[in-house]
Subunit: 295 residues, 6 copies
C-alpha cells in the first residue's frame, strides 16, 4: 500500500516536471510530419497517436501531415501497375495520382483520424483539395524533368485549417493537391508539412524519420548535430558535411524556417514518444534547426 | 442590340420569379443524396454541381451525401475481388469495406469537393470517421442475416457538420462509418443521407434517383404520386400500392420525416437541374413526402 | 407536361448563368440613386423594387438614395407656393426645405420602405438627420449664389447605415440634411448618393436616369460611351465632348470615384430591370466610369 | 469664491441623491408618449429633450412615441382640406392618412431626432412602416363605425427597435402604420405608445398629458389618484369615478399593464422635467398604474 | 545516453497514462479547501501549488479556498489579544474579525496568489467582500450560542468568480464575509469551500486535511472508508460509526453534495501531490463522498 | 406642495446641467488616488464613495488606488514595532512590508470595496500581487539610499484591471507590489496611482490631497495655479516657484502625463464631493496639469 503510494507520488512528480514545458508551449501550433517506421510498427504508431493526443490535451494545437509511399506502391502492385522511380522520385501518371489519392486521403488519413478519435481527440482528415488548401502545379525534379502529377505547392489556403483548429479539431492532412483544372497531384509529404507549417506560422515542425537526426557521418549516430542555425545548415550542405539522403531533409528544415516556422526538428521516429520527448526535455532529442536563440 | 436587350430582360425576369422561393428557403439546410445517373453522365454531373452552388449562393445550406456502388465494384474487379450480393445487398468483408472507403472517401468525395471548389464554393469531404460523425454497428438485413461490415448508424454527431456549415463550407459526406473499435463500415447512402438530414433537422432531404418519383405502377410514369403524407406512405406500403424496389425508397422517406426532416423528395436525377426545379417551382417535381401542410 | 418541364429547365439555366456574377459581387455594397421615370412608371417602379430585393437575397448590400423633385413641386403647388429655380436649381427658403422634407422623408422614403417590405426585405427609411448621417452647410451654386437651404454635405456619419446594414436592413435614404443649428437642407439626390457611396466605400454606385448612358452626342443614343476612366471623363468635359446636362452627371461619377467607390454607373432607368442587367451581364448596360481594370 | 464652491457642492449633492434611482432603473426601457403642451411650448419642449437625454446618459433606454394632431390639422387646413371628427376621432380618408404621415414621419419625428442629436444623443425617426414595426388593420370606433385609415395595431415587430436600442440609438416612433397591402394608417399615439411599450416589455410607460394625473374630480387637481392597481382602475371606470376624457387614458394604462409594462404613468407635461421628476423622486409625480408592489 | 533516454521514455509514458483522466475532467471546476499541514510544511506547500498549476494547465478550473486559524491566533497573540474558544470554535468579537481579515485576505491569500503566479498561473485573491461574493449573517453554534462575527453564508454571488474563471484567473478565496451593514465575518473555511463549490456547481470539492480520509476508527488508518454515498454518510453519523471531529467533515461533504457538487473528497494533505493523486489514479485516494455512479 | 415641486424641478435642472459633462467623459477611465483627510473624516469618506459611485453610474470607469500610511503606523505601534523614517520615507524591512500588506490589502482595500458595494457598485480589492499587476524592484531614495522593500514599479500588467473594468467591476488597488522572488513591496500610493493610470491610458488621474492644489506660495491658498502644462510644471520646479512638499506632487503629475494620462488633477480632498466638482464644473477645482488644449 505504502509502496504503491510512493510509486504514484513519483508519477505525480513526473507530471509536475512537465509544467514549465506546458507553460512554454501552450497554444503553439505543432506540425508533425508522420511517416517511416513510426507508421509501420504498431507500438510506435500507438505512441505517436498518444503523443499527439497529449499535445492537444495540454493546450497545444497539433496538425498531422502524413506520408504513405509504401502503401501506394502496395496498391499499385495489387492493381498490376508497376511503380516507376527516377532518382528515387515516383513517376506519377494520372492513374498513379488517383491511386495515391485513394490510399492517402481514403485510407491512411481516415485510419489516423479514427485512432485519434479513439483516444478522445476530435480529428478530421483533409487533403489539399478540401477548401483548396493546397493549390499545385507540376514540380520538375532537380534536373528539370517532368515526373507527371507531382505537386509543386503554389498556394496554401489556411481557411479550412484555421476553422478546424479554432473549433478544436486536429487536422490530419494528406499530401494530395489540386490545380484548379481538375488534376490531382501527389505531393512529397515532407514538403507538404513544411508548406503547411509555414502557412500556419507554426512554432514547431517535427519530422518523424528513421534516423537519429542530422548526422555529420551518416554511419555514425554519435556524429549527430544537436542544433543548427539556418546559416550552419546551408554551409554544411555547401561544404559537403551533410550529404546524400540527408540533403533533402536539411533542405526541408531550411525551407520551413524560411516560411516562418520557429524551429524545425528531425526526430528519430523509431524511439517511443519521440514527440513528447522533444517537447518535454530541456535539450530535446534529434536535431533542431532554428534561428531563435535557444533558451 | 434591341433584341439582345429584350432577351436579357427576360432573363432578369426569370431571376425575379425566383425571389419568393429564395425568400422562403433562405437559411434552410438541404441534404442532397447524390447518386445514380446524375453521378455518371457528365452533363447531369455538371448540372448537379451548379444547382448545389446556386443553393449556396442564394443563402441555403446544402449538404451532399454521395453514393458510389459502381465505382466500388469496379475497383474490386480490378483487384480481382468478386463482388457478392445477397438480395441486392453487398456482402462486405473487411477488405471490401476498406476498398469501399478508398473509393468513397478518397476518390469520389474529393472529386466532388474539387468540382464545387471549381464554381467558387468552399467544400470539404468528410466521412463518418471524421469527428466520429457516424458511429455504427453491424446492420442485419431484413432476414436477419449478417452481411459483414454494413453499417447501422447508431449515432450522428453533428459537431463537425455544424462547424463546417457555420463557417460556410459545404460538407460532402461519404457513407462510411466506424464503430469505435477500429472497424470500417460501408453504409447505404440513402440511409446515411436520411440519418444526416434528421440529425441536422434539415428542411429538405432530396434523393436524386433514376425514376420519375414514387410511382403507383412502376412501369407507368403517369402514375406518379406528387405528394404523400407519412400515413399515406405507410398505407401504400401496407396495401401493396408501393412495391418492389420502391419500398426501400419510401421507407427512407418515412425514416427522414421521423427523424425531423420537414419534407423528403424523390427526384428524377436524369432531368437537368432537378434540384433547382424542386426549389424554384410551385409544385416542385418528383414526389414530396411530408406531413407539413403544403402552401 | 414535357414541354413545361423544358421551359422550367431553361429557366433554371438562366439562374445558373447568374452564378459567376453572384460569386463576384457577394457582400458588395451597391448604392442605387433612384429617380426619374423609374420613380413614376408603375411597372418600372415594381421592377426596381424587385431588382433591389434580388440583390439583397443573393448576398449584396443595397442602399437606396431617392429623389423627388416633382413630388416636392406638386406639394408646394397645392400649398400655393411657387417653386422658383435659378439655372435649374431650386431656390430653397425655410418653408420650401420643410415641405421638401415632408415629401422626401415622410412620404417617398416610407412608401419605398413599404414596397421593399412587401417583397420580404427588411427596410428602413432614414434621412441625413437620423444619426446625423449627413451634416450640411449651405451650398453655393457654380456662380457663387446662395440658393438658400441647399445642402453641401460636410460629413457623412456612417454609424447608423453600418448598424442597419449589419442587421440586414436595406437603408432608404432621403436627401435631407441638417447643420447642427436646427436648419433643414434639401440635398441634390445624385450628390447625396455619391457622398453616401463614398463614405461606405461602396463597390458600385448606380444612377437610374432617363438617358441611355453618357452620350457623346446627346441626340444620338448610338454615341453612348460604354466605359470611361476618370481621366477620360475629365478630358471629355474639358474638350467639350460631354456637354450641357450631361456635365453634372459625369461630375457626380468622378466625385464618386474620388470618394472611393469602385465603379459608377449611369443606367437607363426606363429599361426594366436595369439594375439586374448591370449586375448580371458581362458588359453591363449604360456607362461605367471606373479606374479599376475591367475583367 | 467660497460661496460659489458651496453652491457647487450643493449641486453635487443633488447628483448624489439621484444615485439610488439611477441604480434602480439602470438598463430599463422607458417609453415616453410625447404630446400635448409639452410639444408646443418651447421651454417644455427643451425640458423633455433634456430629460430623455439624461435618461440615456445614466443608462436607461428611452423610446419616444410622439403625437401631432394639431400639426396634421394645420397642414390639412393649408391644403384646403377640412378635418372631420366623429366623437373626437378624426375621420381619415386616404389623403388625410398621407398628409398625416408627411407631418408625423417627415416633419415631427425628424425634428425631434434633430433636437436629441443636438444634445449628443444618437436618435433615429421611424414609423410603423420601417421594418414593418406596426402592422395594422382598420380600427372601428366604440360604436363600430369605420373612420377610415385609423390603425388597429395587429402586430408589433420589435426587430428594428431592438437593433436600434442595442446599438445605442434612441428610437423616435411616429404613430403611422401599414397593412401589408400598401395602405397607410394613422394610429392614436397613446395607443401606439402602449403597444410599443408592451412589445418591448418596457419597465415604464409615461404619458405626457395636459392634466395633473388621473383625477377623481376632473375639476379638482387635489382629487388626483397617486397610485392605482389594474383592478382599481377597472373598478373606477365601472363605478363612474373615472369618467369622460379620462376613460381612454385610463384604458391605455390598463392596456399597457396587460401587455407587460411594469408601470404606466400619467404625467403632467406642463411641468418642467416631468419625466426626470417621475424617475428621481420617491413617490414620483402624476398617477402611477401598476400591479407591482411599490417599494 | 541510452539509459537516460530510457528514463525519459518512461516519464513520457507516465504523461501518457494521464490522458484518460485529463480527458475525463477537462473543463471541470475543482474547489480545493487548502489548510492544515499542507499550509505549514514548505515541501507540501510547494506540492499543492504545483498540483493546482497542473490542474490549470491541463484544462481544469481550480478554485482555492484557504484557511488560516493558526496565523490568526499568532497575530492576535502578538497584539496581546487572547484567542477564546468555545467547544473549539473561536469567539469572534469585532476586533478579532478585523484581525482575521487582515491575516486571511491581506497576508495568506496574497501569498498564495504570489506562489501561483510564480509557476505561471494567473491568480487573484478575493474575499467574500469582493463583488459581495459571500453575504453572511451571524451563525449560532450547535447549542444556539452567538459566538460573534462568525459567518453563516446566506448567499454566494458567483459573478466575480465567473468573471475570473472565464478570463483564466485562478480565484484564491479568503473565508471572510460581509453582511451589508458593514460588518466583517470570519467564516469556517470548510464551510466556505462547500458553499463556493455548490454555487459554482463544481465537479469536485477536495478537502486537504490532516487525516487519511474518513475513518471508521479514528485511530486505525486501515479503517478508512473509500467511497460513501450521501445516504451512507448520514447513516454512519446516525449510528455513531463516524464520530467526534469526523462529524463536521462528513457534514461538510454532505453539504457539498446537497448544494450540487458531484463528488466531495477528504484527502490526506500530508501526502505529496494529494490533489494530483486524486485526479490521476483510478480509485483516487482518501475518501470520496458522492451519489454519482463510480465509473 | 407647489413649493416642494419647485424644489424638485430645481434639482432636475441640476441634473440637466450635468449632461454636457457626462457626454464629454462617457467611457473615460478615471484613476482616483484616495488618501489624506478624505480617508479619515467619515463624512468626506462617504462623499468620496458617493462620487465614485456616481462616476460609475453615468458611464465612466473609475479605478481607486488608496493609501494608508497612518493605519500602517498604527498597527506597527500595536505590534511594538517602531516606524522609522528617513527624510519622510518609511524604512521598510520585511516585517514592515508584511504588516503594510495586511493593512493595505487586507483591511483598507476590503473596507473600501464594502462601502462601494453598499451603494450598489460591484467592486474588487486587488494588490500588485494579483495577476502580477505591479512588478517591482527596490527603489532607492533621491540620495541613492536603500530603504528596504519600497517598490519601484518596473511593469504594470493591466490584464486583471482590463478584465475587471470590462466586466463592470471597480478595481480598488492597494499599493503593494511583488518582485517575482517572493518579496513584498510597499509602494508610494501617489506613484502607484500614476503608474496604473499611465498603463491604462486613463483620461484623468485625480490626487485627493490635503491642500487646495498646487500653490505658488504654500501658505497662501490664493496663489493656487489653476492649470499647468508639463513645460510650466518643470520650469516652476526648476525656478523654485514650486518647492518643498509640493515638488513630489508635481513630479507625480508630470510622471502621469509622460505615461499617457490626459490630465492630472491635484484636488482638495477636504472639500465634499471634490471628485464630482472636478468633473461637473467648467473650470474644475484644484490644479489641472495637462498638455491638452483646455476646451
Amino acid at each position: 500500500m505504502k509502496h504503491q503510494m510512493q510509486t504514484e507520488i513519483l508519477k505525480a512528480e513526473v507530471l509536475i516536471e512537465a509544467i514549465p514545458y506546458i507553460r512554454r508551449f501552450a497554444g503553439s501550433i505543432v506540425v508533425v510530419k508522420y511517416g517511416g517506421s513510426a507508421m509501420v510498427d504498431e507500438n510506435l504508431k500507438k505512441s505517436v497517436i498518444q503523443d499527439i493526443a497529449m499535445l492537444k490535451y495540454i493546450g497545444l494545437k497539433p496538425v498531422v501531415v502524413h506520408g504513405g509511399g509504401k502503401e501506394i506502391t502496395s496498391l499499385l502492385d495489387r492493381l498490376g501497375k508497376k511503380s516507376e522511380f527516377l532518382d528515387g522520385l515516383r513517376v506519377t501518371d494520372e492513374e498513379t495520382a488517383q491511386v495515391a489519392e485513394m490510399v492517402l486521403s481514403g485510407s491512411i488519413a481516415k485510419a489516423l483520424v479514427d485512432e485519434l478519435e479513439g483516444v478522445g481527440i476530435k480529428a478530421v482528415g483533409i487533403s489539399g483539395k478540401d477548401g483548396r488548401t493546397m493549390l499545385c502545379s507540376r514540380k520538375l525534379d532537380e534536373k528539370g524533368r517532368d515526373l507527371g502529377f507531382v505537386g509543386q505547392i503554389d498556394k496554401v489556403d489556411t481557411s479550412l485549417l484555421d476553422t478546424l483548429l479554432a473549433n478544436n479539431f486536429v487536422p490530419v492532412v494528406s499530401p494530395v493537391g489540386v490545380d484548379g483544372k481538375g488534376n490531382t497531384y501527389n505531393i512529397n509529404a515532407d514538403y507538404a508539412a513544411s508548406a503547411v507549417a509555414g502557412a500556419l506560422s507554426a512554432q514547431k515542425l517535427m519530422f518523424l524519420t528513421d534516423v537519429e537526426g542530422i548526422l555529420k557521418d551518416k554511419d555514425d549516430p554519435s556524429s549527430i548535430l544537436r542544433t543548427l542555425s539556418k546559416a550552419q545548415a546551408l554551409s554544411y550542405i555547401a561544404d559537403g558535411t551533410v550529404k546524400g539522403g540527408m540533403i533533402p531533409k536539411v533542405q526541408c528544415c531550411i525551407d520551413g524556417l524560411e516560411k516562418g516556422v520557429e524551429s524545425v526538428h528531425v526526430l528519430d521516429g523509431r524511439v517511443s514518444h519521440a514527440i513528447l520527448l522533444e517537447i518535454f526535455t530541456t535539450k530535446g532529442i534529434g536535431t533542431m534547426v532554428t534561428d531563435k536563440e535557444i533558451v
